[in-house]
């Protein structure tokens, strides 16, 4: 068999490249980061992408018609909005007809993907179930090869690359991966190409591509992780060399082997028995009336919500009276989970001012805790930092051990001893965890990420001081730039309060394989405590202040920055370096801390409305206690609801949203158009907002509408595979996406970004980066601009801004948030705050 250099019909390189694009791109669990599940379709218009994705791969991409109609009956989709959506699409005169279609039309809702059709012919024509014969061993070999530390006896040949390792083992064993001889020979032939194997298996070159898609989408989870690890091997601590090509070759060999075994080598390629070739996967998808009806509903569903927001925004345009002297200022993460805590902080101290910004606070670095021998990234995933921050001291020994995770219990003799001794201890532990849940070594706790009193290497005095090519700490100049950028981007350039808090966030949970997705996304799925301390240190540095003053930001000597960490699951806060505060500030801080704690109690209460096991009517302290307990309960699959129900992102001054009850549904990035008239900082903000908030939003969207194929299904049955993924049972495919427990209360609506600036500036800002523009242009995200002088709304549509007038004239006022919270469990409308 000779390697072919040129193929007119099948170009291996091109097909694999494209295939990788379509496969799930989820990183291993420890680096779980949200992204648009349908990223491969992002160059198309949102609805066209949905149609194609559904027809190609059989995904369910929206709610069902019945679900929309149900929402209409419940008034969650407003009649006026529905009518306007129809009128805009079909013309005013068509409203009646299309409304009838939407409300009572009969359509066949069957979802039939083209994926798998070709490969089904093995069953139809040959009566052989290749998946059944191949998958169990195939998955197991791949999982064992990639395993990060579950197995006690790891894959014996590890670092040669996947196929070479398989070859090496096959050569030196009395057993075999295969049943028949042919596959073995093919394996040893190192020149064997994918096309050679497909020739044996399929025979017709025009079908190769389709077959490979069918093959890989029969286990998109495993193929996806291999594809990710091929491109980013650094995502595994124990790096493994593997490529999708190797994976496919091994699988094709196993398929050939299964056929050889069943038919004693006496079988003809699939194409020879194929009567009519199936529809090609990527053939054009016809646009039907059903598609349009669904689009109308989705649009109406989304705008029924957005319209309230805009109407509410309009109602509160009278400038709020912010007193010139503020008690403190606090920067939170833009995360939607910080939306309500900011409201409570402001409520408990009307003289404070809060800001939102990505939770890494503009400082990008790797962090190396004391005693660790690995580093972890503390900034958004796409950024590759060149700095290292080390933890120099650590009072506490970090690692508490738990013998239950010890591998010894799985070996025979020690297992015998352990089961007779530790076994009885387990009984007690089990009873304790059920009746009195508490923090244990099994818990993933945000506060453990960094020791509270540790010393960090933030300042670099000698640029040559490097570790593994990373500069240790930042120079004064580098610090000043970062502080300046941060402050200008959020519009905090004057009127500094005596205390400015930088509050990172993290989460605490147990029995949660997706724990990384609960921490700060802007810190690569880690708690933001280190970043909060680092930025505060920088902003407090006298030399940095000097430089800043030269650049026009004058921070008074008396002002001090203070890092903190908010645990979003437990609603607790820790402040760092409080000993460095001046006496006056320490006293002020004491007051503020009390306010924070009060705000946290109420925030916990507001969150509790979603949890059936907590009675929200109880006194706030009790509710808070139950919330804390929840975070360490083994049996609690929903420690918090994470980003569920997210739908908005407000980029502007706090004034435009301060009067609204947003029900924790909004990302909030502070920005002052007056500080950035050119829109330079805005560009940076939107370049981050689109992939981060947009990615979170769309991952929730798709996991919600098709929790089986695009989400991970229920987490209750999940089994941890190799420490990098989860599957059902032991022979299952990996399940990327979000488990049902994370998305069940989520309303699948796209993100609406609301920017406060002039439309022309915003347009310029989003057009600076093609990648960012794609998100808005193809309507994966809605964009509204609030013109600061007229307060008029402009909607971005087909590349230009058109004025938008909210249908709703006024939204309701909520008199008493706590009692609202006590009475409702479902998603609430937008309210005006008293």
């Amino acid at each position: 068999m000779k390697a072919k250099t040129h193929h007119p019909l099948f170009d291996e390189h091109e097909v694999l490249h494209e295939l990788k694009h379509f496969l799930p791109a989820q990183a291993p669990l420890k680096d779980f980061i949200h992204h648009n599940t349908l990223h491969a379709f992002q160059h198309q218009n949102f609805y066209q992408a949905l149609r194609n994705a559904s027809a190609f791969f059989g995904y369910k991409v929206t709610l069902t018609l019945d679900e929309y109609r149900e929402r209409y009956r419940q008034n969650r989709i407003s009649e006026e909005v529905l009518e306007r959506v129809i009128a805009e699409r079909k013309g005013k005169e068509e409203v009646g007809v299309w409304k009838r279609k939407a409300l009572t039309g009969n359509y066949d809702p069957t979802i039939s993907g083209r994926i798998g059709l070709l490969r089904d012919n093995w069953k139809k024509q040959y009566r052989i179930d290749l998946d059944l014969l191949v998958h169990p061993l195939f998955f197991r070999v791949v999982c064992s090869y990639l395993d990060q530390g579950i197995s006690i006896w790891g894959f014996p040949v590890a670092h040669k690359g996947f196929l070479s390792s398989i070859r090496e083992m096959e050569r030196n064993t009395f057993a075999s991966f295969f049943k028949a001889e042919r596959a073995k020979k093919l394996l040893f032939n190192e020149n064997c190409q994918i096309s050679d194997l497909l020739k044996l298996l399929i025979g017709d070159e025009s079908l190769y591509k389709q077959y490979l898609y069918d093959l890989q989408f029969a286990h998109q989870g495993w193929s996806g992780i291999v594809s990710v690890l091929e491109d980013q091997p650094q995502l595994l601590l124990d790096r493994k060399k593997i490529s999708l090509r190797e994976l496919i070759i091994f699988e094709l060999l196993l398929e050939i082997d299964a056929l050889d075994d069943k038919y004693q080598g006496n079988w003809a390629p699939l194409a020879s028995r194929l009567e009519t070739p199936p529809t090609p996967i990527f053939a054009k998808v016809p646009y039907t009336e059903f598609h349009e009806v669904i689009e109308i509903w989705q649009e109406a569903f989304e705008w029924s919500f957005y319209d309230q927001v805009l109407a509410g925004m309009k109602q509160g345009t009278s400038p709020t009276n912010v007193p010139a002297s503020k008690t403190f200022q606090a920067m939170f993460c833009m995360d939607d989970r910080e939306c309500s805590i900011r409201r409570y902080v402001e409520q408990h101290d009307p003289h404070c001012q809060t800001f939102g910004t990505p939770g890494f606070f503009g400082v990008e670095f790797y962090y190396k805790p004391k005693h660790a021998n690995s580093i972890t990234k503390q900034c958004p995933a796409p950024v590759t930092p060149t700095y290292l921050i080390k933890e120099l001291t650590n009072e506490k020994e970090k690692r508490e051990r738990d013998l239950h995770f010890t591998k010894y219990s799985h070996t025979l003799l020690r297992g015998w001893l352990i089961s007779q001794t530790l076994g009885f201890w387990s009984a007690l532990r089990l009873a304790l965890t059920i009746f009195k849940p508490s923090l244990s070594p099994a818990t993933s706790s945000s506060f453990k990420h960094m020791d509270e009193f540790s010393e960090l290497t933030i300042e670099n005095t000698n640029p040559d001081e490097k570790e593994n090519g990373l500069q240790i700490g930042f120079t004064i100049e580098e610090m000043a730039t970062r502080v300046e950028n941060l402050l200008r981007s959020i519009g905090l350039v004057e009127q500094f309060a005596p205390l400015v808090y930088a509050v990172g966030h993290g989460s605490t949970s147990v029995n949660n394989t997706h724990y990384a997705g609960y921490d700060c996304g802007a810190c690569s799925g880690r708690p933001g405590s280190v970043n909060a301390r680092v930025i505060s240190y920088m902003a407090n540095h006298p030399k940095v202040r000097l430089l800043l003053r030269e650049r026009g930001i004058d921070i008074p000597e008396t002002t001090q920055f203070l890092g903190a960490l908010h645990d979003t699951t437990r609603d607790e806060i820790a402040f760092y370096d409080t000993t460095s505060l001046s006496a006056t500030n320490a006293a002020l801080h004491q007051q503020n801390e009390a306010n924070f704690n009060k705000a946290l109690d109420f925030n916990a209460k507001e969150r509790s409305r979603r949890f059936e096991s907590i009675d929200s009517h109880l006194p706030v302290e009790k509710v808070h206690e139950k919330i804390r307990r929840r975070s360490v309960s083994l049996f609690e699959p929903r420690p918090e609801l994470n980003h569920a129900t997210n739908a908005l992102c407000i980029v502007g001054r706090r004034d435009i949203s301060k009067h609204l009850f947003l029900d924790r549904r909004s990302f909030m990035n502070s920005f002052d158009y007056r500080v950035d008239p050119e829109g330079n900082y805005l560009t940076t903000i939107l370049n981050a907002v689109a992939p981060v908030a947009g990615g979170i939003n769309l991952e929730y969207y798709f996991s919600r509408v098709d929790n089986q194929k695009l989400g991970a299904g229920t987490k209750l049955a999940h089994n941890v595979m190799g420490l990098f993924g989860v599957a059902n049972g032991i022979d299952g495919d990996l399940r990327p996406g979000l488990p049902s427990q994370m998305i069940e209360v989520h309303d699948p609506v796209r993100l609406m970004v609301i920017v406060e600036h002039f439309p022309s500036v915003v347009l310029r800002s989003i057009q600076k980066s093609a990648a960012t523009y794609e998100w808005f242009m193809n309507q994966w995200i809605h964009l509204i601009v609030v013109e600061p002088t007229t307060q008029a709304f402009y909607l971005f549509k087909n590349g230009e801004f058109v004025e938008y007038h909210p249908i709703k004239q006024a939204i309701e006022v909520v008199q008493n948030v706590p009692s609202l919270v006590e009475a409702h469990e479902e998603n609430l409308p937008i309210y005006l705050l008293q």
Binding site: I150, H404, G415, F424, S426, S613, V720
Partner: protein, 622 residues
């Protein structure tokens, strides 16, 4: 004191029945009633055991009531209590109580919340029937409940392919274990000429006296008990089922397959220990089986890269050691080992999702690329061989496939020419002919009395195998299974003493369950364009009520203790003479595969991924 034993059965029974009636949406009521049931049982158990200890641990037996009796045969229910029961009772009640509480919040909002607690309580009922059973018949009742409830728990996520497939697989292995139990019961009928109680079994002199002249029967019974025990406790060659049973919600996997269910093999051996105590060869065999299982399961556990399968194989290895301890007569050690292993594995499975954050953090601080294990010092070729074999689970899964399932399917396929109508045309007249022969049996030669039963039982078995391998019509598959019972009845009728009443008693359940099941399939056929057995169709999605009715009918037809057929089957065996081992085998294999074929129909027609794709359906591989 004796009368209290009843409560240990009544509490779970009532709890189970009540749970069936609760409104499916009301999670609070459902979980509270389950917790109350199991909690009450735990409380009663603790108080009772304390009192029992105070009374210096007497062995208690309650001969309860007779379900059926005819001359020379009595089917009675007996309860029994001793140290073994006490340990299993306390461990079971404790773990079930905790896991029920655990599941209350864990299962919140899960579709099938009620179904989960129903099944848990059903399992718990079976558990208690088994541990309190005073004779094989009572034990078998519990054993059957465990089989069905295991099937339902593994297939809890009934709209996915793998859980349903694996549930059928596990059920099939359980049925093979049942085969052992049925034959052991049959042989012991003839050994003792009565339904022997475990109390009598612990009478050394009595056992010794009976076995003296029948040592082969003794060995046969012991081997059959071992078969049942090995299947239930996932010992060789059945081990591969245990990790595959981990398809349900984690707490159910933890309690059943991590701890309680899987230790029933050990229980059976402990319970019957006095019987085979004197049979040195059997004791050596049991110990060997345990040692070999441990030796094979340990390397398999060591190479597992998924956390649940690792725990499963580690547990199998420990149970192997428990078998050794039992064979060595170390009852107390075995019981301690059982309790410790059960607690440990339950807890390990419950915290298994935490392994990611725990080990990743551990590695973050203490990363060692690939840990050197002792296997690495083996010669390379040997190392790779053992690794590869362990990775492939020593081919145990395909071994069972090649030895048991495939050959039987092949036999069934030979009958592919049978269609629904041909079947009726061919076998109804044959059956009538055979009936005529039966009426004139006094005119037949003595020879025919030997061969006719075997012939008819073989025909019955063929029907079952055909049903098992049928791919097209579920109705036909079902009909074949009904017919099997008729052929068996006919076969046994040629043996003396099978009175008409007994025949009617036996077939009454078959006829009713058969008719109901057939009606369900017909109705489904009317409602759905395509109903076949070629793949899983998941019709439960649209027809949940029909599915439930069919499930009840299926249980009836397979001789589950809700119809007289259950006793009938036992009755049939009491009429098979001890020299008719072939007939006993044919009938028992027929019954066992009947159960498998029935579950297969149920699974393929009603469970699995739905054939209609207007809603979310999972990938087959997920």
């Amino acid at each position: 004191m004796t009368s209290i034993l009843h409560f240990f059965i009544l509490i779970p029974l009532l709890g189970f029945l009540v749970s069936l009636l609760l409104p499916p949406k009301n999670e609070v009521v459902i979980s509270r009633s389950a917790i109350f049931t199991v909690g009450l049982q735990l409380l009663t158990a603790v108080v009772f055991c304390a009192y029992w200890l105070f009374q210096h641990t007497p062995t208690i037996e309650v001969k309860d009531f007779s379900l059926f009796s005819s001359p020379g045969y009595e089917f009675f229910i007996t309860f029994y209590f001793d140290g073994i029961t006490a340990v299993y009772l306390l461990v079971g009640a404790f773990l079930s109580f905790l896991v029920t509480i655990y599941s209350r919040a864990y299962l919140h909002r899960e579709a099938g919340y009620k179904r989960f607690f129903n099944t848990i309580l059903f399992f718990y009922l079976g558990y208690n029937v088994v541990i309190f059973s005073g004779n094989f018949e009572t034990l078998f009742v519990g054993w059957e409940i465990l089989g069905i409830s295991s099937f339902l728990l593994i297939a809890f996520y009934r709209d996915r392919y793998l859980p349903v497939k694996n549930a059928i697989k596990v059920f099939s292995v359980y049925r093979i274990g049942d085969l052992g139990l049925i034959l052991a019961m049959w042989a012991s009928h003839h050994l003792w000429h009565e339904n022997i109680t475990f109390l009598k079994l612990s009478n050394h002199e009595l056992v010794h006296e009976h076995l003296q002249n029948h040592s082969w029967v003794g060995i046969f019974i012991s081997l059959m008990i071992l078969l049942a025990a090995a299947a239930k406790s996932a010992q060789l060659p059945f081990s591969a089922w245990l990790p595959r049973a981990m398809e349900g919600p984690t707490p159910s996997s933890a309690i059943f397959y991590g701890s309680l269910s899987v230790h029933f093999g050990a229980f059976l051996l402990l319970r019957t220990f006095p019987f085979w105590e004197e049979q040195t060869s059997v004791r050596i065999l049991i110990a060997l089986l345990g040692i070999i299982t441990s030796a094979i399961a340990t390397p398999i556990a060591r190479v597992q890269s998924s956390v649940k399968s690792q725990i499963a194989y580690a547990s199998i290895a420990q149970i192997g050691l428990i078998f050794v301890e039992i064979a060595a007569g170390l009852e107390v050690i075995a019981l301690i080992h059982f309790a410790g292993n059960a607690f440990l594995r339950t807890y390990q499975l419950l915290v298994s999702p935490s392994v990611v954050s725990y080990l990743i953090r551990e590695q973050f601080y203490n990363y060692v690329p690939r840990q050197h294990t002792f296997e690495d010092s083996l010669p390379k070729k040997l190392e790779y061989t053992v690794y590869l074999l362990s990775l492939k689970e020593w081919n145990l899964d395909s071994f069972m496939n090649h030895i048991v399932w495939k050959p039987l399917r092949r036999v069934g396929r030979k009958l592919d020419f049978l269609t629904h109508n041909r079947l009726l045309m061919l076998f109804v007249p044959t059956f009538l002919l055979a009936l005529i022969a039966y009426n004139f049996q006094d005119k037949l030669s003595a020879q025919s009395h030997v061969y006719f039963p075997i012939l008819f039982a073989s025909i019955g078995l063929l029907m079952v195998l055909k049903s098992y391998s049928e791919r097209k019509s579920p109705q036909m598959s079902w009909l074949l299974l009904i017919m099997n019972h008729f052929w068996v009845a006919l076969a046994i009728s040629f043996n003396e003493h099978f009175t008409l009443e007994e025949v009617l008693f036996y077939l009454s359940g078959v006829v009713i369950a058969g008719a109901v099941g057939y009606a369900c399939l017909r109705r489904l056929k009317l409602l759905e364009p395509k109903v076949d057995l070629n793949q899983f169709a998941g019709h439960v999605y649209e027809h949940p009520k029909l599915t439930l009715v069919f499930l009840l009918a299926a249980m009836g037809l397979m001789g589950f203790p809700i119809t007289p057929t259950f006793i009938g089957e036992d009755l049939v065996f009491s009429h098979i003479h001890e020299d008719q081992i072939v007939l006993a085998f044919l009938c028992s294999i027929g019954f066992v595969f009947e159960g498998i074929a029935i579950v297969r129909i149920y699974g393929r027609v009603f469970l699995g991924p739905h054939t209609k794709h207007y809603h979310e359906t999972a990938y087959r591989s997920s």
